[in-house]
Amino acid sequence: MIDNVILGFQTALTPQNLLWCFVGVLAGTVIGLLPGLGSTTGVAVLLPLTLDFEPVTALIMLAGIYYGAQYGGTITSVLISTPGEASSVVTTLDGYQMARRGRAGAALSIAAIGSFVAAIFSLVLLMVLAPPFANFALKFGPVENLSIMILGLATIVSFSGESRIRGFAMASAGLLLATVGMDAATGTARFTFDNVNLLSGVPFVEVMIGLFAVGEVMYQIRVGAAAPIRTRFRELLITRSELRRSIGPIGRGSVLGFLLGCLPGSGSTLASFIAYGVEKRVSRNRSQLGQGAIEGVASPESANNAAANANFVPTLTLGIPGGGTTAVLLGAFTMYGLQPGPLLFQSQPTLVWGLLVSFFIGNVMLLVLNLPMAPIFAQMLRIPYAYLYPIILFTSFVGAYSIDNNMFSVWIVFVAGVAGYFMKLYDLPMAPLVLGLVIGPLFEKALTQTSALGDGDLLIVLSHPIALVVLALAVLLAAGPSLVRLLPRNTPARDREPAGV
């Protein structure tokens, strides 16, 4: 363990990796704070820039964008009530109210501190737990892998959007999209319409750029923008009372965020909402939540950062993305010829430990950047969106073109952009679609192998204890919320309490 950490520091502390880590976290902060861009978009759009990099350098930079955006997303949530990231949605509730009362700086500061504490806490757990979990996962065969992918889909479906039916429909659509191209087992070309570009499947990164960048830009044009609130340096100072009130929420948010982030497909949005909900029930100041309570910023911001790091547990050890952005990062791994999974810790120790240690360094950089510079970052919000979004469109299309140097990629981005806009408009969750598309080929491979192991009988999964437990968990997750609703609820008591989350 110690040897691995030292190896990680040796890798992460090279001038080149330090530089790109800084570029990544800075870009992530900027991307996170600009409405219409999020970590998934940022990683997808900037991925082509890293094609010539060493894989470890590229991943350090891309991961920096991911957790940097968690910090940046808070700034827009607090200042203009427009979350830069889905995981910062809940922060708008109290963060914006604090800003309206002149406490924007305190909200931004506690978000940065909470995010840092949660990130360090979750990184220690990630480093301690990921290697033994990867060793355990080495025992997994196709049957177990299939059940874990079903768990990933069940997790993301059960926490997606207005209704689980929508999530389920989008996960199915993602799996369907993943079947386009040559079938690996038999060589059959499926849904290619004689287009050679489709033989290798629907290009994943282009779809991501279209869904998240172009679709989001179009949606932002539709919704317009809110008026910003300006913040000043002296407003950054947190009072002793605010700091004391934040300790508990930061601790609870960190633990909850890590636990929830470990679930494949859960992302960090869920963690922030659950953490806020817990504060609504356990905080001494729960009656103030929703009206500008610092607990309402500290807890969800800690939770989403802890979850962002914990998302790397399933991503690195099982090769199953923890959420939307880690799905894109998983695509990046495969572009660099790497296969995330239990063997990665043994076959690529320099890369894995260098990446993990870079999270520490990146989070220190983010704290140093965010505490004194939040007001400066906030000035970027003054760039009119009228100038910003045409440039985002330009960058998205040129980024997509540069992946394969062909116009087919550009058309895919446009089509996916139209799809992404309508998905946002009709509240169809994108994360299940992304997960379905990413794990589709792996899912089909595991399905085919399981079928072969059972001589055509898929019920062979029932004879594998690990797979059985995982499947039971998946069923529980998928059906759990419906079962909870069937339980009798104490309505009068609930009505007396403040609205909870």
């Binding site: 979350p83 207005e162 499926r190 809110a226 909402f273 469109l393 509240d427 399905l447």
Partner: protein
Amino acid sequence: MLALVGLAAAVSGAFYGVFVDGGRVGPGFLPLVAGGLTAVLCGWLALRCVHGERSHPPGGPAEGVEPHLVEDIDPVDIDSVDNGTDDDVDISGRTRRERIHNLWKVFGLTLGAIPLVQVVGFLAAFGALVFVISTWIERQPLLKSAVIAAAATGLIYGVFGLFLEIPLPGGLLGLGTEG
């Protein structure tokens, strides 16, 4: 539409071979199952939309948000998260109707810019897109828009064309980085 796509995929999947030798899963199995599920679920959602049973309007909470969690939040707060669901004007003074018109114009302009790449090249086509959107759609000052479009094109040329050596198509005018 998604329901129809799913249905078509499910039917096509049956022709690829759902099962192969020994009853094992074939290349048509996943298209059949995933397409069938997509058709059924999206069809059901479409029916719900038609019957007006949707529990909240378009532009609802962000993805990844547990439904019952959101219901518990004060609706006033959610409105402040997504300010696009009402008819209020935004900070640029546009009504929702005007914003939707602009959206379709941007869609159309982008759709037009892509084939234009073959004629004037990638940089010129998308540089022009930035300029036209800024001036025509967003009504920004002509000179400022021209400077921003030129700066964006220059930056993209520097990063993608020179630094990354991406062969951006030059079109008939030869304004690219090919060759």
